[in-house]
C-alpha cells in the first residue's frame, strides 16, 4: 500500500512538467534571489541612496560633495542647483533613502551643525547608517575638518591646563552620553538631523502597513484566482465558448470581485494601523482609497494572469507562492528596498509591491507631490491592464473542448 501510494505521487509529478520544473528548478532559483537579498541586507553591500544639496557652496563643502560622490558604498542624487527643499521632497517621496544638506561652511563656527541629515521615519535606520558613513568619510578623506573642529573647541575653552583637560574630558563624555539616546540628533559637531515628516510614530508603521497589505492582497488574490483552473477543468469554459457567453466576462467578474476583496483586506490592515499605531489614514482617505483600488487591481490581475498560465491547481499554487515571495522580497514587502543590492533595487520597480509601497507612502505623507502619487497609480493601473490582457489571451488559447 505504501509503495503504490508513493508511486502514484511520483508518476503524477513526473507527468506534470510544470509542477516538476517548479518542484526542482524554482527552489535553487529562489535561494539565489533570497541569498542576494538577505546577504546584502546583513552584509557590507548595502548602498544607500542619498539626496545631496550643497547650499553653503564653500570650498570645504565642495570637497565633501566630491568625497561623497566618489564613495562606492553610496548612490548619490546630486544637483548643482538643488536646494534644501528639493532634498526634503526627495526624502518625503521615497525617491532617496536619506537626505544630506550641506548648509554651512564646515570650518566655520556658527549656530547649528553645518551638515543636516534629513531622514524618513519609515527608513530611520538609513539616517543612522548615513551618520556613520559621514564620520568615516570625514575622518579618512577630510581629517583637517575634524581637526579644525577640535582646535575650535580648544580655542573656545582658552587653552589646555590639566584642570581644563579634565573639564574637557568631562564635557565630551556628557556630549557623547547626550547623543547616544537619539541617533537622529547625533552630531559630531558637524552633523545635525531632522525628519522630513512631522513627528508621529505612525509613519514607520505606515510603511509596513502598505508593504504587508500588498503582499497579502497578492496571496489572497491568487487563492481566489485558482478558481479559473477549476472552471476550465469542469468544462464551464467549453460551455461558454460554445454559446453566447465569453471568457472575458468570467475574467472581468473575477477581477472585480478580487478588487473588492482586496480593498476590504487593505482597509482592515490600515484600520488596525490607525487604531493601534496612529497611522493617520482619515486625513488622506481619498488618496488612500485610490491607491488601494490601484494596488488591489494590480494584485488581482497579476493573480489571474498567473493562474491562467498554469494548467493545474498544483502548478498554480506552487508558482504563485514562489511569485508572491519573490515579488514581495524584491519589491520591499519583506525588508526596505534600500537594504537590497542596487540591481535588485532597480529590478524592484518591476514589481507591484515597490509601486504600492511608494503609492501608500506618498498617499499618507502630507504635502507629497501629486506627480509622484499619480505616477504610482498610473504604473499600478498599467500593470493591472497588462496582466488582465495576458490572462485573457492565455485563457482563450487554453479552451479545452
Amino acid at each position: 500500500m505504501i509503495v503504490p501510494a508513493a508511486r502514484v505521487m511520483l508518476l503524477t509529478l513526473l507527468r506534470d512538467r510544470g509542477a516538476l520544473a517548479m518542484a526542482f528548478l524554482l527552489p535553487p532559483l529562489i535561494f539565489v534571489i533570497f541569498a542576494s537579498i538577505f546577504s546584502a541586507a546583513g552584509g557590507d553591500q548595502l548602498r544607500l541612496h542619498v539626496g545631496l544639496a550643497d547650499v553653503a557652496r564653500s570650498p570645504a563643502t565642495a570637497r565633501l560633495v566630491q568625497v561623497i560622490l566618489q564613495e562606492p558604498t553610496l548612490r548619490v542624487t546630486f544637483g548643482e542647483s538643488a536646494g534644501s527643499e528639493d532634498v526634503r521632497r526627495l526624502v518625503k517621496e521615497g525617491a532617496v533613502d536619506v537626505g544630506l544638506i550641506l548648509r554651512g561652511d564646515l570650518n566655520a563656527r556658527r549656530e547649528g551643525a553645518p551638515v543636516l541629515l534629513v531622514t524618513h521615519e519609515a527608513r530611520a535606520i538609513a539616517g543612522a547608517i548615513m551618520a556613520g558613513h559621514l564620520q568615516r568619510l570625514l575622518a579618512v578623506h577630510m581629517p583637517d575638518v575634524a581637526f579644525n573642529q577640535v582646535l575650535a573647541d580648544l580655542e573656545a575653552v582658552g587653552g589646555i591646563t590639566s584642570e581644563q583637560r579634565a573639564w574637557i574630558d568631562e564635557t565630551f563624555r556628557e556630549k557623547a552620553a547626550g547623543t547616544r539616546d537619539d541617533p537622529r540628533s547625533r552630531t559630531i559637531g558637524l552633523v545635525a538631523s531632522e525628519s522630513a515628516l512631522p513627528q508621529n510614530a505612525g509613519w514607520a508603521v505606515s510603511y509596513y502597513a502598505g508593504a504587508v497589505a500588498v503582499m497579502f492582497l497578492l496571496l489572497a488574490a491568487v487563492q481566489g484566482a485558482v478558481g479559473l483552473i477549476e472552471e476550465r477543468r469542469l468544462g464551464v469554459y467549453d460551455r461558454l465558448l460554445a454559446g453566447p457567453g465569453g471568457i472575458a466576462g468570467i475574467l472581468m467578474g473575477k477581477f472585480l470581485f478580487l478588487v473588492a476583496q482586496g480593498t476590504v483586506q487593505a482597509a482592515l490592515v490600515f484600520a488596525t494601523a490607525y487604531l493601534l499605531y496612529d497611522v493617520d489614514v482619515p486625513a488622506s482617505f481619498g488618496s488612500w482609497l485610490v491607491t488601494t483600488l490601484a494596488v488591489a487591481a494590480a494584485a488581482s490581475a497579476l493573480a489571474l494572469a498567473l493562474c491562467s498560465i498554469c494548467t493545474s491547481r498544483q502548478q498554480a499554487q506552487v508558482l504563485s507562492t514562489f511569485a508572491v515571495l519573490i515579488l514581495s522580497a524584491a519589491g520591499g514587502s519583506m525588508v526596505p528596498r534600500f537594504f537590497l543590492p542596487p540591481w535588485l533595487q532597480e529590478a524592484g520597480w518591476w514589481t507591484p509591491n515597490a509601486w504600492s509601497i511608494q503609492a501608500y507612502s506618498s498617499a499618507l505623507t502630507p504635502g507629497s507631490a501629486f506627480a509622484s502619487l499619480s505616477l504610482s497609480w498610473i504604473v499600478l493601473t498599467a500593470m493591472a491592464a497588462g496582466a488582465l490582457l495576458l490572462a485573457l489571451a492565455v485563457s482563450l488559447r487554453r479552451r479545452s473542448v
Binding site: 477543468r233 469542469l234 468544462g235 464551464v236 467549453d238 460551455r239 461558454l240 465558448l241 460554445a242 454559446g243 453566447p244 457567453g245 465569453g246 466576462g249 468570467i250 467578474g253 479552451r399 473542448v401
Partner: protein
C-alpha cells in the same frame, strides 16, 4: 413526430461539407459531409479518436477545418459569434459550480451567457421545468445524484433557448430512470424545433432516441440515416439468435450446436449464431429438438455498437 422520420423538408441548421482536419501527421476527418436539420435528434457514433469531439469543435467555432466549409445558421462559426447565440453545448463533464445550488448555478451561468437580468429568473424556471429539476432547485450540486447532475448540466444549456443543442455523451454513468427522463427532455426539445446533436457510445440510446444516426469511421460518416435503415443495410434479414441451455452440453451436443452454426459465448450455457430467413425460430427449434438439446430460452439479440462498428469498418476495407 414519429421517430426515424427523415426531415428532408426541415430547414438545415448546420452543414459541414468536404471537411478535412489533421492534427500534425494524423488525419482525423477527411471529406466529412453532414447536414443537421431543425427538429431532429442526430446521434453520432464512433470509436474513440474518430473525430466526434473534433466535429463538435468545428460546429462551435472553436477550431477551423483544414479544408471544407462549416456553416451554422448560415454563417461560419469561426468568423462570427452570431451562430453561437443560437447554440448551446452540454459538455461531458458536469460543468457546474459544485458549491452552488441548482438555481444559483443556472442564474450565474445565465448571466455569463449574456441573458438580461430581467429574463434570468424566467429562463431558470423554464430550464428547470424542461429538465425536471423543480424539486431539486435549492440543493447544492455536489449533493445531487449522478442523474440529477446530468439534468442540471443540460438545464444550463437550455437557458438560452438554443436552436442547436450539442451534447457530448450526456448519459454516461446515469441510471435507467434518469436516462429515460433525459430522453424525454431531449424529445420535448426536438418537438419544439430544436436540432439536437449528441455523441454516444450506446447503440441502444441512439436507437431509442435519435431520428438519424451517423457512424464515424475512417474520417467520414461511413453510415448515415435512421438507425433501422442502417442496421438493415448492414445485416439485411440476418439476426443474432441466442440459445440459453438448461445444462452444459456433452461432446455430442457440442458438435450438434457447431454444425448448426452456433458459437460459444463467455457464458458456457449461452450460444449464438447469425441466421436469416422468414421463420428463424421454427426452423431452428426443429433442428435443436432433433439434436436432443435442452433449451431453457431462445431469443433474438439486437446488435451492439461494437459489432456494428466492426461491420462498418469491414465494409470500408
Amino acid at each position: 413526430m414519429p421517430q426515424g422520420t427523415p426531415l428532408t423538408g426541415a430547414p438545415a441548421v448546420a452543414t459541414l461539407a468536404g471537411i478535412h482536419v489533421s492534427y500534425g501527421q494524423r488525419t482525423v476527418l477527411q471529406g466529412l459531409d453532414l447536414t443537421l436539420r431543425a427538429g431532429e435528434i442526430f446521434a453520432l457514433l464512433g470509436r474513440n479518436g474518430t473525430g466526434k469531439s473534433t466535429l463538435m469543435r468545428l460546429l462551435t467555432g472553436q477550431m477551423a477545418a483544414s479544408a471544407g466549409e462549416v456553416r451554422v445558421f448560415g454563417a461560419d462559426p469561426c468568423r462570427t459569434a452570431e451562430p453561437r447565440r443560437l447554440m448551446s453545448l452540454v459538455p461531458q463533464e458536469i460543468a457546474l459550480y459544485p458549491r452552488l445550488t441548482v438555481r444559483e448555478n443556472l442564474e450565474v451561468l445565465g448571466g455569463m451567457m449574456g441573458l438580461r437580468r430581467t429574463d434570468i429568473s424566467r429562463r431558470v424556471e423554464e430550464a428547470m421545468i424542461l429538465a425536471r429539476l423543480e424539486d431539486r432547485r435549492d440543493d447544492l450540486v455536489e449533493h445531487l445524484s449522478g442523474g440529477y447532475k446530468r439534468r442540471a448540466n443540460i438545464a444550463a444549456a437550455l437557458l438560452t433557448r438554443p436552436r442547436l443543442l450539442l451534447l457530448d455523451e450526456p448519459t454516461v454513468g446515469v441510471d435507467v430512470e434518469a436516462r429515460l427522463s433525459l430522453h424525454r427532455t431531449l424529445r420535448d426539445l426536438r418537438d419544439h424545433g430544436t436540432a439536437v446533436l449528441l455523441t454516444t457510445h450506446d447503440l441502444d440510446e441512439a436507437r431509442a432516441l435519435s431520428d438519424r444516426v451517423g457512424i464515424l469511421a475512417a474520417g467520414r460518416l461511413a453510415e448515415e440515416g435512421p438507425i433501422g435503415g442502417i442496421l438493415q443495410r448492414i445485416y439485411g434479414e440476418r439476426r443474432e439468435v441466442v440459445l440459453v441451455l438448461s445444462r452444459e452440453p456433452d461432446m455430442k451436443k457440442l458438435d450438434a450446436l457447431r454444425r448448426l452454426g452456433f458459437e460459444p459465448t463467455p457464458n458456457p450455457l449461452e450460444w449464438s449464431c447469425w441466421v436469416g430467413g422468414p421463420d428463424i425460430f421454427g426452423a431452428l427449434q426443429s433442428s435443436l429438438t432433433r439434436s436432443g438439446i435442452d433449451l431453457h430460452e431462445i431469443r433474438l439479440r439486437e446488435p451492439g455498437l461494437e459489432h456494428v462498428l466492426s461491420r462498418v469498418e469491414e465494409g470500408l476495407r
